[in-house]
């Protein structure tokens, strides 16, 4: 956001300068652009155009066909695939509902929890630095590894969670976790938070450490309590960090594909099926046209949720 504004400002500045440069005789300017510079971004631009932008545009074309990916023949079927997804395909609407639930749970839990951790670990004491490193650690593991670790934790017969509960005499709380269709998604959300809360904690710590200490001292002299201080100093100051955390967590949890496949197997059972795994199953089933349509819905969904968050949260600090 801010970079764009910055770029726009610089652009204006550069345009302005170009005029004065021209007036002074542009050729003599030592800062004139060497045409060879245009060759530098060329490989990156070509790769992105050919392997990212073009396929994305093509997805829109495939989405209105019934192509199976192999035969030469296919029909344009208009918006049939989209109609089918929303009205005739309970597997898709199930995955969509699961995905929205999952994103909502993870965003709320992860944002709150990473902020709590950050608040508790702001000070640069030796203990804090050590704990920060520990809490951040799961982020560097592969999703498949994290999935296996938690599959073992949740294992109803031999798992760690039930072993711990049994060990402290809480057999009544033992469960079958992923085996319980009503709860399975919650437990994967817990795993996702364990996986990435440390990463978001670090984003928050950076935000918290930018708050001038004097503000708290002044507030304390005015007799403001801890909650008052949090509400009127900390929270407004970490608003930008919060919008980063919320936006990033949203995209991350929409793409929890690897974690779901690792923890639930391929293909996952219905209670754990989300949009990305559903698209993959449709694709693996050779319904290329339909999978492309689903992936466009997926992309639109991410854009919509991100836009809604920006509208609803308006988490930019005052005066910006």
């Amino acid at each position: 956001m801010s970079t764009h504004t910055k770029m726009a400002a610089e652009r204006k500045g550069a345009d302005g300068r170009t005029e004065t440069d021209a007036a002074k005789g542009r050729r003599r300017s030592p800062t004139r652009v060497n045409p060879a510079l245009y060759l530098f971004p060329l490989p990156a631009v070509a790769i992105i155009a050919f392997f990212l932008v073009m396929p994305t545009l093509q997805a829109f074309q495939y989405a209105i066909t019934d192509w199976n990916g192999f035969s030469a023949a296919f029909n344009y079927v208009g918006l049939d695939n989209f109609v089918r997804a929303f009205t005739k395909d309970s597997l898709f609407t199930n995955a969509l509902t699961n995905n929205l639930k999952f994103v909502l749970m993870v965003v709320i839990a992860q944002t709150a929890f990473s902020l709590v951790l950050a608040l508790l670990l702001t000070k640069n004491s030796r203990g804090s630095i050590l704990l920060r490193a520990l809490f951040f650690f799961p982020t560097i593991l592969s999703s498949v590894s994290v999935a296996f670790i938690w599959k073992f934790i949740y294992d109803p017969n031999f798992g760690l969670a039930n072993a711990v509960l049994g060990g402290v005499g809480l057999e009544a709380l033992q469960g079958s976790y992923l085996g319980n269709n009503a709860q399975a998604l919650y437990w994967v959300a817990v795993t996702q938070v364990w996986f990435h809360a440390g990463q978001m904690m670090v984003v928050y710590i950076a935000g918290l450490q930018a708050i001038p200490r004097e503000l708290y001292e002044a507030a304390e002299m005015d007799g403001a309590g801890k909650w008052q201080q949090f509400k009127s100093i900390t929270w407004p100051f970490v608003a930008p960090a919060t919008s980063i955390v919320v936006a990033y967590t949203t995209v991350q949890s929409f793409k929890a594909f690897d974690l779901i496949l690792g923890i639930a197997g391929n293909p996952p059972k219905q209670s754990l099926d989300i949009l990305s795994t559903r698209i993959y199953s449709t694709f693996a089933n050779s319904e290329f046209g339909y999978a492309a349509a689903q992936s466009i819905i997926f992309m639109a969904m991410i854009a919509l949720v991100t836009w809604l968050q920006r509208r609803l949260l308006r988490l930019t600090p005052k005066g910006e």
Partner: protein
């Protein structure tokens, strides 16, 4: 008093929730299934590397380790090279062109991999890139180039323009300036981006799952995933696989911890 007590409680409990599973995985990778189920927390009876031997020898995990090393070792520097070239040009070009190139490259961050996987699969099929490590490298580069340009380009814009002007007065061409001025000065952001890319490319699962067919071309995450299908509840074997797959990243993390945090949060806060 109470506040400091609950602070310690929260931090302590969460530390346990992170340490205990990792320890159990570490111990478990040396146990037999019976031994693991009898007591997940106990120390292993012996440090026999039988599980590791079975994972490496029995399955195709050994070759997948090599494949992962090859793919990551090419993908990371290649992405950095292309992104830094673009970032450098953007920081030196002026006006609309700089803005347009930057915007075009960075726009890709908004496209999730699942959104274009079908056409990419078809395209790779036509180009003969399916089931090849070269295809994986290309897919890695494409998917991370936008954010790498964002991180490196963003940093290079902050370098003082005077340095470039001075070198161009000295008659140095853009390539020399890139190699001897822009790149060395950008070392901190290059290092941060390198670690960010290393974690992503090393752990990448979707592209191998989409493109790789023959077991000999699998990368580690994919081999692990198919491994799980075959050995449903042989947790000790899975654990040995998890540790082998995580080892390079974990070792690097222990030594370069500070840079990991900088790199991955640069990815997070600018994504």
């Amino acid at each position: 008093m109470l506040a400091s007590l609950s602070r310690r409680a929260i931090l302590g409990i969460y530390a346990v929730i992170i340490i205990v599973p990792l320890t159990v995985v570490g111990f478990g990778s040396f146990k037999s299934t019976q031994e693991l189920f009898a007591g997940p927390f106990s120390l292993p009876q012996s440090l026999s590397p039988a599980n590791y031997a079975e994972v490496i020898g029995g399955q195709d995990l050994g070759s997948s380790f090599t494949n992962s090393v090859i793919v990551t070792a090419i993908s990371v520097p290649l992405t950095l090279f292309l992104a830094s070239l673009a970032g450098y040009a953007i920081s030196r070009l002026k006006g609309f062109m700089a803005w347009a190139i930057f915007g075009f490259l960075v726009l890709g961050m908004a496209i999730p991999a699942q959104a274009n996987m079908v056409p990419l699969y078809v395209l790779f099929g036509r180009l003969g890139l399916l089931d090849s490590l070269a295809g994986l490298v290309l897919a890695n580069v494409v998917s991370t180039l936008p954010i790498a340009v964002f991180i490196l380009g963003g940093f290079m814009r902050t370098l003082p323009k005077e340095l470039y002007e001075a070198s161009s007065i000295d008659g140095t061409g853009p390539w020399r300036t890139y190699v001897s001025i822009a790149l060395p000065l950008s070392a901190p952001s290059v290092a941060a981006a390198a670690i960010f890319l290393f974690v992503i490319h090393w752990n990448e699962l979707l592209y191998p799952l989409l493109f790789i067919q023959s077991p000999g071309n699998r990368t580690l995450p994919l081999a692990l995933l198919s491994f799980q299908g075959e050995f449903q509840t042989n947790y000790p074997l899975l654990f040995a696989g998890v540790i082998l797959a995580s080892l390079p990243v974990v070792v690097a993390y222990v030594f370069l911890q500070r840079y990991f945090v900088a790199g991955i949060t640069a990815g997070a806060s600018k994504g």
